[in-house]
Symmetry: C2
Subunit: 425 residues, 2 copies
C-alpha cells in the first residue's frame, strides 16, 4: 500500500510545541509529536528564547514521524501556527538578539497606554488596526524594547512574530499572514498592509518586517536543505505562510470564508475566549478586531477569569467542580485576576446576595454563572461589532460552538446553555 | 446559721424566664430557677400570651427557691427585668385582651414609617423620645393594633410593657421605670415623663398607662397576698419598679450613675449590641437614646448580623469557627439578614477582594472583621452622641466591655481587640 500524502501542522504555543501529521486527502490525524518549552521571568516578565521553539519544532516533528510509522517522503507540506504577539528580534544572520517577550508579558503595559494616547485614544487604533494596544500587542513590546533594551532594538536586522520566525527557519523566506500580522499593532486591517504612519510612530523600518502573504494557506516557499536536515524531512516540500494560534483554531473549527461565518465559538479555558469569522470588518474598542488567515475577519474577545477562577471557588468551598446548582440570589463575579473584558484591571472577585439559606452549591453555581455571563456578554458585543443584533431571533438561534477544557464539564455546558438560551455544538 | 437576706431578680425574656436568687449582702448568686415561654406567629408576627410570662415567673421562682434550699421567709424583695417594647393590653380586671405583639414582631413596620412621617421625620422623634420609631417600638405596635384589632385597642383599660405587667401582678400597682418607658415611643427622655402630644398623636389616654417610678430600683409596693400565694413567697416583701432587659444588663455590668459612665459595652450575640451609660442625653437618629434605670441615659445601637452570620460563613467554608486569620485584602460584610445599623434593610452578604491566593481562613476572618467593624462603627457613633470624640486618646483608651456569646470566642476577642485598638475587659 502506498503511503498517503501527509501534511504537518505545527502548533507552537506558549508551553509546548505539537506537530500534527494529517492525511492530506482525508483530514485524518495520523500522529502527533510533542516537545515542551521553557518560559522564564518574574514580576510581569514572560520570555522564551526563540531557538527553543525551533529545537522543539524539530523534536516534535521527529517524534510525530516516528509515531506515524510513515517514511519521511510521505510528507508533502508543513505550516506553523504560533502563539500570537510575541516579539522576536533577529540579527543579520537570523539569530535572536535576546529572549522574546511573550504575549503574556505585562511589563509593556505603560507603553501600551502611551501608544493609545499618542494616537488620540482607543477609537483611532480600532479604526486602523482593529485593536486597542494593550500590554500583549507586539507594538507595545517593541516600544518597551526601545525604552529598556535600546541596543537590541537599534541592532535589530529583522522583527518577527513567533510563527514568522519559525516559517523563515523552514523556508528561508521572510513571510507572515494577515491573521498573525493583525495582532502586531502595526498592520492595518482596513488596508490589508502595514500602516506607514504607525511604523513611523514606532520608529520601525518596514524593511525589518516580513512580507504579508495573501492568506495563511498560501505557499510562500519550500523547505530548505538545512531545515530538511534538521527535521528529517525531504527538502523542497511546500511551506505555507501559517498564522497565529487563534486564527488556526478558527480554521480547525471550519469558521471562515469557506465555512461558517458569524457563528460564534466560545473557548472555556484558563481564560474565556469568544470569536467568530466575519466578512464585516469589526470596529469595537471592546474586542480585538483581528484578521483571519483567509481574508475574512476574526473579531475576538478574551476574559481573564474562566475555568481556573471557578475551580478556585470550588476549592474554597471544598466542593467538587461539578457539585453546583444555579446560584439563586447569590451573584459572584469571579474576577480573581482583575478583568480585561469588561476593562476592570484592578477588579477582584465579588460576591453579593449572601443569605442565611444560601448553600455552598449555590455559591459555586454563582461562580459559573458570573464567569459564563462575562464571556456571553463579550459574545453579544462581538456579534454587534459584526453588524448583527444578538437578540434577533435568527441570530440568537445560531448554535454556539463550545470548546476548551470547560467544554468537557457538565456544569459549564449546563450553565452556558441556560444563560445563553442557545443550542450548543 | 441564720438564712441570709435574699432578693430575687427576674429576667423575663423572649424565650424563657429566669429567677436569680441573690444574697442581698454579698451579691452572690445562690440559685437560678428557669421556665420556658412560647412565641407564636409567622409572616412577621411574633406574639406571646402575657399569662404565660406570669406562669413562667411563678414556676421559675419556685424552681429557684427549691434549688437554693432556703426557706421562703429568707426572701425580702423582688424585681422584674423584661424584654423591651412588647405591647400588653389589659381589661379592667388586669386580664390580657389578646396575645402581646413582641419587640421582634415586624408587622408594625408600616405604622413605624407613618409615625416617623407624622412628626416630620426622624429628628423630631429623636428630640422627644431619643429614638426613631421602628417596628419594634411600642408606639408602632399600638398603631398597628388600632388599625388591625380596633376592638382590643378601643377596649383597653390598661396599656403595659411586659415588665410592667408582671410588676403589677406582683404588687397590684401600675408602675414602670424610665428605662423601659423610654422604649415605648410615648415617653420623653427630655422631660422624664409621658409626652402629651405624642399620646394625642397615638390616641392613647395617659390614664391607661402606669406611673413612672424615679428609678428601676425604687420600691413601688409590696407583694400582694394573691401573688405571694402563687409564688410561695411571704406577702408584703418589697417589690421594686424593675426595668427593661437592656437596662438591667447595664446595671449588672456596673454601668450607670453609681458606676462607669461612658464606658462602652459590646454584646456579641445573634445581633451585635453596643451601649453605654451616659449623663449626656444622646440625640442621634442612628441609635436608640434610651433612659437607663437610674436617671442616667442608655444610648444603644444594635446590628442585625453578628455571631450567627459569622457561623454561617464558617459553615459554608467547612471551617471551625476559630479557624480564621485576618482577612487580608478580602472584605466581607455579612449582612445576611439585611442590616439595621447602618440602615440597609434590603442588604445581603457582600464579599469583595477575592483573589487566587485568598484562603478560606482569610474569608472567615473577613467575616469576623465585617461584623466587628459594623458594631465598632456603631460604637463610635454612640460615643459621639454622648458628646465624646471616639478618636481622642483619653476616649480611645477606655476599656471596652465584651459580653455575650461571642465574648467566649478567641477569634471574636482577637478581632475586636485588633480592629478597635482598645483594651478589652
Amino acid at each position: 500500500m502506498p503511503s498517503p500524502a501527509v501534511v504537518i501542522g505545527v502548533d507552537s504555543s506558549t508551553q509546548s510545541t505539537k506537530a500534527a501529521f494529517i492525511d492530506a486527502a482525508t483530514g485524518e490525524q495520523l500522529a502527533v509529536g510533542r516537545a515542551p518549552h521553557l518560559v522564564t521571568g518574574e514580576a510581569g516578565a514572560r520570555e522564551s528564547d526563540p531557538e527553543i521553539w525551533w529545537r522543539a519544532l524539530c523534536e516534535a516533528v521527529a517524534a510525530g514521524l516516528k509515531e506515524s510509522g510513515l517514511p519521511a517522503r510521505a510528507v508533502t507540506g508543513i505550516a506553523v501556527a504560533g502563539q500570537q504577539h510575541g516579539l522576536v528580534v533577529l540579527d543579520g544572520a537570523g539569530r535572536p538578539l535576546r529572549p522574546a517577550p511573550l504575549w503574556n508579558d505585562t511589563r509593556s503595559a505603560p507603553q501600551a497606554a502611551a501608544l493609545t494616547d499618542a494616537l488620540g485614544g482607543p477609537g483611532a487604533w480600532t479604526e486602523r488596526t482593529g485593536s486597542v494596544p494593550v500590554a500583549s500587542i507586539t507594538a507595545s513590546k517593541w516600544q518597551w524594547l526601545r525604552e529598556n533594551d535600546s541596543t537590541s532594538a537599534a541592532g535589530a536586522a529583522a522583527v518577527r512574530l513567533p510563527h514568522d520566525f519559525l516559517t523563515e527557519r523552514l523556508a528561508g523566506v521572510a513571510a507572515t499572514d494577515p491573521g498573525d500580522a493583525s495582532g502586531s499593532g502595526w498592520y492595518s486591517t482596513a488596508t490589508g498592509a502595514y500602516d506607514p504612519e504607525l511604523l513611523e510612530l514606532l520608529g520601525l523600518d518596514a524593511a525589518l518586517l516580513p512580507e504579508v502573504a495573501p492568506t495563511g494557506a498560501a505557499r510562500i516557499g519550500s523547505l530548505t536543505g538545512a531545515a530538511a536536515e534538521a527535521l528529517g524531512l525531504p527538502a523542497g516540500i511546500a511551506v505555507a505562510a501559517g498564522t497565529g494560534d487563534n486564527m488556526s483554531a478558527a480554521v480547525g473549527l471550519g469558521l471562515g470564508g469557506e465555512g461558517l461565518l458569524d457563528h460564534p465559538a466560545l473557548s472555556l479555558g484558563t481564560s474565556g475566549t469568544v470569536f467568530a469569522a466575519s466578512r464585516t470588518r469589526p470596529a469595537s474598542t471592546a474586542l480585538n478586531g483581528f484578521a483571519a488567515a483567509d481574508g475574512t475577519y476574526l473579531p475576538l474577545a478574551c476574559t481573564l477569569n474562566c475555568t481556573l477562577a471557578v475551580d478556585k471557588v470550588a476549592a474554597l468551598l471544598g466542593l467538587d467542580r461539578e457539585d453546583a446548582t444555579p446560584g439563586g440570589d447569590a451573584v459572584l463575579l469571579p474576577y480573581l485576576d482583575g478583568e480585561r473584558t469588561p476593562d476592570l484591571p484592578t477588579a477582584s472577585g465579588l460576591l453579593t446576595g449572601l443569605r442565611h439559606d444560601t448553600t455552598r452549591q449555590q455559591l459555586l453555581g454563582a461562580a459559573y454563572e458570573g464567569a459564563a455571563v462575562t464571556v456571553l456578554r463579550a459574545m453579544d458585543e462581538l456579534l454587534a461589532a459584526c453588524g448583527l443584533d444578538p437578540d434577533a431571533p435568527e441570530v440568537a438561534a445560531r448554535p454556539l460552538r463550545l470548546i476548551g477544557g470547560g467544554a468537557q464539564g457538565r456544569m459549564w455546558v449546563e450553565t452556558v446553555r441556560r444563560l445563553s438560551g442557545r443550542p450548543l455544538v
